[in-house]
Symmetry: C2
Subunit: 484 residues, 2 copies
């Protein structure tokens, strides 16, 4: 019997205090420390209690030798004890008034071992008996910047419109990190692991109604109750865009899922059909999920599929055009009168004005770039503009950092200053001196509210997914809420 009648999970995200039970007192980078570091970095402003039988002190915080020693009542507990101790911890926490225990601890049903499956059952039994909710086990728990909760010290402290439900802790970290670099911010992120109590349906129902969450991103390995989850998805997709990354679509992947969170992966065909029917944006990698989030948040919805592609490099302009048209986006030829306007101030040699616009020779002329983009954006034949920058092409022209900055100054006015949506493709480089320049350019895009992509294919794919979604789900009002 699950506590599914609890009216709201609000209390998970607004704890009166947090207790870290089982944090190591030894020095250094033990995994149990990341939760303390996360709470400190996110400036958690209510009581924090640390517990370890050895007692002592960590970073000026007293360490209680047991949960029962904590003065007064407790509320939200992060369980870092081993699997054998878990049920007992829940019992102790219940005595102290705790409402929820999140177990990061692994070593339960995901091991496939009989004794450890029993430990998980025992944990659930105690929790239900005592009226304590469980997140996990085998997960990272909650990141909620508004309530200053975080499970690593590297996440942004500002809130944003994206809610994430991820069965995997590592994947949730990767989603937040990659998306945060490109300006995406989050309302609530929940890594929920084995889902022995609170499961994907509970969380989906909650976030579908959460006023702080405008977009939902799910990483799901398996589901506990298929019919309930389907109903929850139906309701959620009526309210907000839902992006789904389904793990375990293959035989080996399903085995990985069993080993990871003890879930049953389900058939791929069934998932695909469900996504299609409900207008869920289905993605197959975290990179793709992040590309879609960036597009949803920063690209005002184009009024159609006609793009102008503008950049430097003939070969690049060919390849990006193929990527866009292969995904059903259109790159229509510029009409003669538009070309003529641009030609007035643009040399013929080395600047090809057809769409794609290869502005190779004049790319270092800020005034020419500015005027050309102005003319292009006023052309009624285009719905949006994509500017592509390939770092390798500027190495001959002096220090890349300076060039990238001057490009940034040329290209990157604020999204709102353009009459049509503008996106940027900034191909990555790992050459150290270039990585810095690119990081700077990406930060510039973020400040200007421009969606930035790392490859031609990524941009084309994400923009197509968003347009397809808008065609399928015209009922979503996200963009109005986001001011896009």
């Amino acid at each position: 019997m699950k506590n599914t009648h609890q009216p709201s999970l609000d209390f998970l995200f607004n704890p009166n205090s947090i207790t870290l039970a089982g944090i190591t007192t030894a020095e250094g980078g033990h995994w149990t420390r990341t939760f303390l570091e996360g709470l400190i970095a996110s400036e958690f402003d209510r009581p924090m209690y640390l517990v370890n039988p050895k007692g002592g002190e960590i970073k000026g915080h007293k360490v209680y030798t047991s949960v029962t020693d904590i003065p007064g009542s407790i509320d939200y507990v992060i369980g870092l004890v081993n699997a054998q101790r878990a049920a007992k911890l829940v019992e102790e926490c219940a005595e102290k008034g705790a409402r929820v225990v999140h177990f990061c601890t692994a070593g339960f049903s995901e091991t496939g071992e009989e004794e450890r499956i029993r430990l998980e059952s025992e944990l659930v039994e105690v929790a239900h008996r005592k009226g304590v909710r469980i997140i996990g086990p085998n997960c990272m728990g909650i990141y909620s910047p508004k309530s200053r909760m975080s499970f690593t010290p590297t996440f942004p402290n500002e809130s944003g419109p994206v809610g994430v439900i991820s069965q995997s802790g590592g994947n949730s970290i990767y989603i937040v990190r990659q998306a945060a670099l490109r300006g995406v911010r989050f309302s609530k992120v929940i890594s929920y692991g084995n889902a022995c109590d609170i499961d994907e349906s509970d969380l989906l129902e909650y976030l579908a109604d959460d006023a702080d969450t405008e977009v939902l991103a799910l990483y799901i390995e398996g589901i506990k109750d298929g019919r309930r989850f389907r109903r929850a998805l139906e309701q959620a997709t009526k309210k907000k865009p839902v992006i789904m990354l389904k793990g375990g679509n293959t035989e080996g992947g399903a085995r990985a899922v069993a080993g990871h969170t003890a879930a049953l992966a389900g058939s791929r065909a069934a998932w695909d059909a469900l996504c299609k029917q409900l207008g869920i944006i289905s993605v197959s990698s975290i990179e793709e999920m992040v590309d879609v989030l960036v597009t949803l948040l920063f690209l005002p919805l184009p009024k159609g599929r006609n793009a102008v592609l503008f950049g430097a490099g003939g070969g690049a302009s060919v390849l990006i055009t193929d990527e866009f048209e292969n995904r059903g986006l259109r790159v229509p030829a510029l009409p003669q009168e538009i070309v003529a306007q641009i030609r007035e101030f643009t040399p013929v040699a080395g600047n090809i004005l057809r769409n794609p616009v290869d502005y190779s020779q004049a790319i270092m002329n800020p005034e020419g770039v500015r005027k050309t983009l102005e003319i292009i954006l006023m052309w009624e034949g285009t719905h949006f503009l994509v500017v592509f920058v390939r770092t390798g092409q500027f190495v001959h022209a002096g220090p890349l950092a300076a060039r990238t900055s001057s490009l940034a100054a040329m290209f990157f006015a604020n999204q709102r200053s353009f009459p049509k949506p503008v996106a940027v493709v900034l191909e990555l480089s790992i050459e150290p001196h270039e990585a810095d320049a690119i990081a700077t350019a990406i930060r510039g895009c973020v400040v200007s509210r421009l969606p930035v992509y790392y490859s031609f294919a990524a941009a084309a794919n994400a923009i197509n997914l968003i347009l397809t979604h808008a065609e399928n789900r015209p009922d979503h009002r996200l963009r109005r809420r986001l001011g896009l």
Copy 2:
């Protein structure tokens, strides 16, 4: 009438001298300077002559006011004059005994303008009449480290087995830069632009027989003589693996091709059929081309499709398994006796030994990792091993640089020391302090002759392409020549 009866293009790659005609004498980063910088950086060791009507000196090199002022004869010329001056330059160069003029100059047939199409015809007419070969116009020319020729200062000076024929200069730069970072080196790279004289068939025939070239990578926008090119491809594919990136597969892409190199792109279906029939490795992006090059050069050919995937992170292990199995690679379960061997020294909680192997909890134990990999590599059920590292998962555990280095020390023994092929996936990060650590780890892989990929999908895709190619073309002896 083209000079197609010239017996060999060897002379292109072994010039007695190089003349830079039209290099700017003004300071700074003008594009004409990149060729001088390239030749200096690659330590070109034969005479270099600079020409500009203004005379003077650049970096200690005398600038002649005209080609005719150069003492004695000249050989290889890089033409940097404008399009209107090009035919005249060829005439002057012919008088001085030049055998080839490479024109970087743009502004010919690719503009689509009548007058400029005429300029290109005139250029060709003069060249044929005078017996001078032309590379280009509208291209970067030749990079040939063995003969110390380069068109940018950032390319490696060491030679390698990859020959590249690229209609686009920018794409050839991008291919070399991206591949070089991951250890790939090149025999000869030719960016040949509008191909008004020397064309893709000339170059393909030459490189197919070139003893220094073991692998061929082509970026083709259009072809001059379809039947001849097909014959050349047939011959080339009998001798070496051929990787093909075809630009202009869409309507917009074909228009971009016309504007870029004035070529006719041809139908996509015809190209696909040709690639399939001849066992050409067809790719759709430069990223994919580089992944294939890295695999061909550094991954000893696996004897089958069974992979063990080893890393840290449950969610990551699910996603990488899906990527591999979705591409026809297999991730078979570890048998109980193998699991039992690893369990002897590996804790149950947080280490899932099924394949994928999620070694999350023990990943920082070098001895455990070493012993586990040893056992896995001896298991007869696997043909190759893929180690995956997701940087984001180690942030909580201390400075990433140190962690990455310790991982590097654990994982990266020399490829030859492993009984089966080993590949590495190192997901990129652009966070500046992490970019450095990753660049270091990538350099470590290169030294160890390990193929390194930046995403799960990229690794799975490239390894599948290589295995498929080996199944289709068992006649290729590349790997024996490379010692793989």
